[in-house]
């Protein structure tokens, strides 16, 4: 099938990196082209969000802030329930080209496996108990 774990796009924009940076990293900028309302605490570990007039909200966590070249954040995976802990990582890279900017966006992490750790532990315990009880029964039977 060949499904993607990462999505990558590059566009050339006829504006300098400083303007593109502001559009990507400020509440005002994000609300103008991405969401309808936005808030950004622009530092690694800072939280950010965007909302849309249709009621959709997305929570983001700022990861990389290297003005004016790299801006990275994680956010919830599109289409999963709001309480699902898995997130994809989005990284914007800005590169000056003449008077404009080459902007690359990479979003990665779509192929994360669900956390089956709990299930494995649970199954392991169940089997462990089954065999221990089996041993107990054998011991009692032998006695």
């Amino acid at each position: 099938m060949g499904f993607p774990d990462r999505i990558e796009r590059t566009v050339e924009i006829a504006h300098p990196p400083s303007e593109v940076w502001a559009a990507l990293t400020t509440a005002e900028g994000l609300a103008a082209w991405f969401g309808n309302e936005a808030s950004v605490d622009l530092r690694p570990g800072g939280s950010a969000w965007m909302t849309w007039t249709n009621g959709h909200t997305v929570d983001m966590r700022v990861e990389r802030v290297e003005e004016p070249t790299v801006f990275g954040f994680t956010w919830q995976i599109y289409g999963l329930p709001k309480d699902d802990p898995r997130r994809t990582y989005v990284e914007f890279t800005l590169e000056p080209v003449g008077a404009g900017t080459r902007l690359t966006v990479v979003e990665s992490g779509f192929a994360q496996l669900p956390t089956d750790a709990h299930r494995t532990a649970y199954d392991g315990n169940t089997k462990g108990w089954a065999s221990e009880l089996g041993e107990l029964v054998s011991y009692l039977d032998a006695g």
């Binding site: 849309w52 289409g79 979003e107």
Partner: protein
Amino acid sequence: MPADVEAIAERVFTALADPTRRAILAALAAGGPATATDLADRLPVTRQAIAKHLALMAEAGLVTAEPGERRRVRYRLRSAPMQVAQQFLAALARDWDRSLEALAEHLDQSVRKPTTTPLQKARKHV
């Protein structure tokens, strides 16, 4: 991407491609664990056909068999494989092309009309 991830997603899509299997999964999601007999009472499908579909889905990991009352096997929905498939769909649904177009448009307009009213959105994200 690990091959087993793709295999999981492929099995989910195969399971979901069949209307009877979709009805069985929907019944398990809505009503909780059930035996083939329970499901045959609720769906317009024979118990034999349901048992066959359940066996296929158990092999795909979409349902797990567990002992029920009167020695009947009960089937429980298992959502993990569906979450894997959902993530693939999320990758396909993420529309960066339109978002980046809206960004370029926003920058063009803010330079031309720096003190304009809030810009009309070129698109909604969702």
